[in-house]
């Protein structure tokens, strides 16, 4: 303990070390603050959307005459509430929708209005604590540790220090531990404050803190391996900068390109367009053919499937759903492709530990691709409940009025999965 206290005091006398740690702490604090603000914005937007639903339904009640108009005009909110760790690793929340108001119309176009990329291995873009941990903290560790031995050698102190009894344990180990501890403190203290504010479950917070620790340990090991070589400090710094550049930027970006090339994924926007075009073409397709195709999917609705020669909501919602069925394979291929890319990215993470640890952070924070796909599946499950609720009214010719709006199924993240 006295060795650590001694080295801590020594580090406090080093202006450059203090500046590097202060800069890291400021970045980590800013990242946590921005993450908390982002999550708060998400929650506020979700709350506004849910609160606005009552106003919307009051407006809808003024003119809804039947189940068809209730289904057509009634937007229903769905949302993917940020987890208690999302503030620390925003993941794909900044590019994937965290809420979506859906109608009982064709769903796929509604979902794929936002094309989703594979951000797991993409170049850094968002500024959150995970970014600071994965990209900035290694640079500070490099600055603090690259000249651990070479700096002393260049100053002419190395042999005198190494000749001290217990130098390995009392000097070098303590110096490494104190500097590593400084970096961890600069990262973990802002995280701990953020976790307290966000009400993060203790075990999950510990898990995330463990990942931060693993990143720091990984880089400390890499730096010490390089710093142990007898080269000059400048050579160590340049080598480590090159390793950082390769491990955190070039290799993940290359892996991302390779994975995207190896696993082609249907274009989400094209899928939405195909869905819409098929639905629009439904107006011109033979109506009896549309109903036959629809009843193959819902044979239990056949007794009430007769439609008049004029417009009827049964027919309209039938070709809407057939639009979804038309692109079902493409949609499944899209999801499979995205999932496969994420799986390969995880595998690449074993070879590229910084990328792997970044993925582990977003996975723990439930802001990764899997969480995004999971939300889409919850929307699909809810959409099915919503459609079938209105099918029941439409195909049994049950009257539907303003009072029935209260019975429309609500999205529930717990059951729509």
């Amino acid at each position: 303990m006295s060795n650590l206290a001694r080295e801590f005091g020594f580090m406090l006398r080093s202006r450059s070390a203090l500046m590097a740690l202060a800069l890291l702490a400021i970045c980590a604090s800013a990242a946590v603050a921005l993450g908390l603000a982002s999550v708060a914005r998400d929650r506020a937007a979700i709350d506004r959307m849910i609160a606005g639903q009552a106003t919307e339904e009051r407006a809808l009640a003024a003119f809804v005459k039947d189940a068809g108009s209730g289904a057509y005009y009634g937007f229903q909110p769905t949302w993917d509430a940020p987890s208690d760790l999302a503030f620390a690793a925003l993941g794909s929340r900044d590019i994937a929708p965290a809420m979506l108001r859906v109608r009982a119309l064709a769903l796929e176009a509604q979902i794929y209005e936002n094309e989703a990329a594979n951000p797991e291995l993409a170049l850094p873009g968002r500024f959150d604590l995970a970014f600071v941990v994965i990209y900035l903290a290694p640079l500070v560790l490099i600055a603090l540790l690259h000249d651990l031995w070479s700096g002393e050698r260049e100053a002419g102190r190395y042999h005198a220090l190494a000749a001290m009894p217990g130098a390995n344990r009392r000097l070098w180990s303590a110096r490494v531990l104190v500097r590593l501890g400084g970096v961890l403190a600069a990262l973990l203290l802002p995280f701990a404050v953020g976790a307290l504010i966000a009400g993060t479950a203790p075990l999950r917070a510990l898990g995330f803190a463990g990942l931060i620790g693993l990143v720091a340990l990984l880089w400390t090991a890499i730096i010490l391996i390089v710093a142990r070589r007898g080269s000059r400090s400048a050579v160590h710094a340049a080598s480590l900068a090159a390793i950082w550049f390769a491990l955190t930027l070039v290799a993940p970006a290359g892996a991302n390109l390779a994975i995207n090339a190896a696993v082609p994924v249907p274009d989400g926007a094209a899928l939405a367009r195909e869905n819409r075009e098929y639905v629009h073409a439904g107006w011109d397709r033979p109506r009896d053919q549309t109903m036959r195709d629809f009843l193959k999917l819902y044979p239990q609705l056949a007794p009430g499937a007769a439609i008049p020669p004029t417009f009827h909501w049964k027919w309209y919602f039938a070709f809407q759903h057939l639009g979804d069925r038309h692109v079902a394979q493409q949609s499944q291929a899209y999801r499979d492709g995205i999932a496969r890319r994420a799986e390969l990215a995880r595998a690449a993470g074993w070879l590229l530990p910084p990328a792997g640890l970044a993925q582990a952070m977003t996975a723990l924070a439930r802001t990764d691709i899997a969480a995004q796909l999971d939300y889409q599946m919850r929307i699909r499950a809810y959409h099915q409940r919503l459609r079938e609720f209105f099918y029941d009214y439409l195909f049994s010719e049950k009257p539907f009025g303003p009072d029935d709006l209260a019975d429309v199924p609500r999205f529930d993240p717990a059951i729509d999965s």
């Binding site: 001694r6 000749a163 217990g166």
Partner: protein, 239 residues
Amino acid sequence: MSNPVLVIDQLVVERGGRRIVDGLSLTLAGGEIYALLGGNGAGKSTTLFAILGFLARSGGGLTIGGQDPATAIEAVRAQIAYLPENVALYDHLTARENVDYLLKIADCRRSRAEIEAAFLSVGLAAPAWEQRAGSFSKGMRQKTAIALAMLRDTPLLLLDEPTSGLDPAASADFHALLETLAARGVAVLMVTHDLLGAADTADRIGLISGGRIASEWSAQTSEPRFDLNALHDGFARVR
């Protein structure tokens, strides 16, 4: 010789496949100052590095206080204070902070009064104690390092070219300090090119050549302590 601090017996050290030290033998008792002279590349510093355990020996024996650096390096280093040719301190720390910090690394507890007493005994004036070492001359840095060695109270002091770059007065001061340490029972082994300085201070002078002691002289009890002509001739032959 009673109670030898350092015993080197037929030491062999190789570097890059070449024998730098080849059968060197030397025994040093407490309170004795031994000057090891030799030309560049003769194996002087290599011998020091072998004693410190920085280099493994290929053959022969080596003990410090009865401990072998090959098997008990920490115990050996606890008995050695080492001053490199250019004593480097932490420039951003004062003399007192440097000594305090380095003593803690060596796990050696000394009071403020003891540190000040050591500074005084090496001739480091009080105003320098709180000065940053970055402003120190080589002589002041050496005095600080000697104070550190005194405070560590090790039985063996190793010096690598301690007077190179010192002016004559500072060099004389330094040799006086060594005599003070020797009087306290510290065994001093210094490798040097400074033949005159060695002749002034050392109890024995060994001339290293071909990786072994080629000639050795012991100080006489009466002046002159050494035959300077013989020393000079010997040194000229091996340089």
